[in-house]
């Protein structure tokens, strides 16, 4: 049985959309139901939905063999899993954003509110800018409005939420897509079943997924 942990929400929806194009894995997941576990005995595969930040935990300790999750979560968690494929979907970016400035130059920021303290502090360390990172769990856009911080580091897709809250993007930090990760031990012990699943997905990924699938593995 191949165990696949899928990040709840947008990633799960996009993955399911991809799986709909595959021959073997459509109709296993039903995201309209409230179930969290979807089993296909015939395909020897089980999908389960978990909170995005928990995906690297499940995969890291081998409770799941494979995980589907955004790159942002992987960067923040410093996962020990193999990152084997870019699903090229759920495209978004992590940005530094803040109140719009008339001058057009980014103001000096000292207090940064973010859901991603590790990504934010690595970014500012690299730029040698001294900042104070404030970790929040949601509604990050609120922080500069109420004066909790000067700016935010957050994930944006269209930028609508930012605009509606009077914020603009100062700088792009990185691009994010959904990734397939694999437990290091499973990748060797269950390589065959992982390969079969990964190549089915890679066939339907836009432009073909690059994936460290060895052509030579048989067992």
């Amino acid at each position: 049985m191949l165990k696949i942990a899928v990040a709840k929400g947008r990633v799960a929806e996009k993955l399911n959309a991809l799986l709909m194009d595959t021959r073997d894995y459509k109709d296993i997941m039903d995201l309209n139901s409230r179930k969290l576990v979807f089993v296909s005995e015939e395909k020897e595969i089980v999908f389960f939905l978990v909170k995005p930040s928990d995906v690297p935990v499940y995969v890291g300790c081998g409770a799941a063999d494979v995980g589907i999750v955004g790159k942002d979560v992987l960067m923040e968690s410093k996962s020990s899993a193999y990152e084997i494929m870019d699903l090229k979907t759920c495209k978004c970016r992590i940005v530094l954003a803040g109140p719009s400035e008339k001058s057009g130059v980014r103001p000096i920021v000292r207090k940064i509110a973010t859901k991603y303290p590790r990504i934010a502090s690595e970014y500012f360390n690299k730029k040698s800018e001294p900042v104070e990172i404030i970790k929040l769990d949601g509604s990050i856009e609120l922080a500069p409005i109420v004066g909790l911080s000067d700016a935010i580091v957050d994930i944006v897709e269209s930028g609508n939420t930012l605009r509606e809250n009077g914020l603009i993007v100062y700088e792009n930090i990185c691009d994010i897509t959904a990734r397939m990760i694999a437990n290091k031990v499973s990748y060797k012990m269950k390589n065959k079943s992982i390969s079969i699943f990964a190549s089915a997905v890679s066939d339907v990924v836009e432009g073909g997924g690059t994936c460290a699938q060895n052509v030579v593995m048989g067992g």
Binding site: V57, G60, C61, G62, A63, K78, S79, S80, Y82, E83, I84, M85, D86, R179, N183, K184, V185, Y187, K188, M189, N191, T210, C211, A212, Q213, N214, V215, V216, M217, G218, G219
Partner: protein
């Protein structure tokens, strides 16, 4: 009452689990001993310098440090190989080679990447100094395989690589050290997504780019890997390493280990530590590497000793996860002796005789246990023997 916690990452091992661990460790100890290896014990605290300077197998920030009375930085050992090398190249320097040592004990790593954020791990491992090439590496593989056998684990894989392959590839290209380190980490993470991005920006010939790009995928069934590896064997270092792996694999096959072997040409390790063959072993049921080992002549040189050396460590915590039979088969008779005051001497004689005969006997004064039947049930005694006045 105040509730007493324990520091983050530490854990208590309660009787049931402890007895499983003890049995496994004892089996491993006996096996190492039976191979003619002698045990050494090194201290829990070591000087920080021993693990700094790039030879440490763990990142600097995951070493648990503290400051000694004299102001020097001491660490809880994050590894057992380096202390063993320290002893082998100092106090045991004069010993005739080959020198074969084994150790058992706890190591400490506060590795954020590590699952469950545990910080205390038990290792049993062996080190061999001063054997000629092939036999040295073969012996470590044999012992790893036998480690699984004594633990009762049948479903396992030994994944073998050689650091000479990546070394040889870098001989072909002139790259700054930090770029090399980055590429090595991406290859060992099998992160083709990033590897592609990084390699694209490098001033390399398209052939070299292709070689780097191909490396993470070159693993699997030995025959298949050897067949497709020719394309990357572009110089002597690589060809030599591949030939060496092939020789080792043939010997493994002769030992009947063929189906348990995986060859991974893209396996990398700490390049200052490892110099030749490296291996990792996995087992069904264990979410993490169970055994890791390899050849580290380079570290010996770094520590001022010019001998060949290889070794491996078994991560006992991970191996226990893979042990299928959770209830150790070792059956021991357990007796509960309940005595009244006047019969104490008689009960004691009886108990001591039983103990000499290998039976576990728990002596309890009749006044200290209210319901012997219940007590006996909770601890699983086979029999209650009463000494009444």
């Amino acid at each position: 009452m105040q509730s007493f916690g324990i520091p983050h990452g530490m854990r208590d091992i309660l009787p049931v689990e402890s007895s499983r661990r003890t049995i496994l460790q004892e089996k491993l100890r006996q096996y190492m001993h039976s191979c003619g290896f002698d045990r050494i014990e090194t201290p829990l605290f070591e000087y920080y310098e021993l693990f700094s300077g790039g030879i440490s197998p763990v990142e600097d920030e995951s070493i648990v440090k503290t400051i000694d009375r004299d102001g020097r930085v001491v660490v809880l050992r994050p590894d057992m190989t380096i202390p063993t090398v320290r002893v082998a190249s100092t106090k045991l320097k004069g010993q005739k080679k080959p020198l074969k040592l084994f150790y058992m004990g706890n190591i400490y790593r506060s590795d954020k990447k590590n699952r469950g954020a545990g910080r205390e791990f038990t290792q049993v491992g062996a080190e061999i100094y001063g054997c000629s090439s092939k036999w040295l590496d073969l012996e470590t593989i044999i012992m790893a395989k036998e480690g699984f056998r004594v633990a009762g684990i049948a479903d396992y894989k030994i994944d073998i690589g050689h650091v000479g392959i990546i070394k040889g590839i870098f001989e072909e290209m002139r790259l700054p050290e930090e770029k090399k380190a980055h590429i090595i980490s991406l290859i060992s993470e099998k992160n083709l997504v990033e590897l592609e991005n990084v390699v694209l920006t490098l001033p390399l010939s398209s052939k070299n780019k292709e070689i780097i790009y191909k490396l993470p995928s070159l693993f699997g069934k030995p025959e298949d890997v050897f067949r497709s590896i020719d394309g990357i064997a572009v110089n002597e270092t690589i060809r030599g390493s591949v030939d060496y792996l092939l020789q080792i694999y043939r010997k493994c096959k002769d030992m009947g280990l063929g189906t348990n072997i995986i060859i991974d040409a893209g396996m990398t390790g700490n390049m200052k530590y490892y110099t030749g063959l490296i291996f990792k072993a996995y087992a069904h049921g264990a979410g993490d590497v169970v055994i890791s080992g390899g050849r580290y002549d380079g570290m010996m040189k770094e520590m001022g000793s010019d001998t060949a050396a290889a070794g491996f460590a078994i991560y006992v915590d991970n191996m226990l996860e893979a042990v299928v039979n959770k209830n150790p088969e070792q059956y021991e008779q357990k007796i509960l002796v309940i005595y009244e005051e006047g019969k104490f001497i008689e009960a004691l004689r009886y108990s001591e005789d039983c103990r000499k005969a290998g039976v576990r006997v728990n002596m309890v004064n009749s006044g200290d246990v209210s319901d012997p039947e219940l007590y006996s049930k909770e601890y699983g005694y086979d029999e209650i023997v009463n000494f009444k006045e």
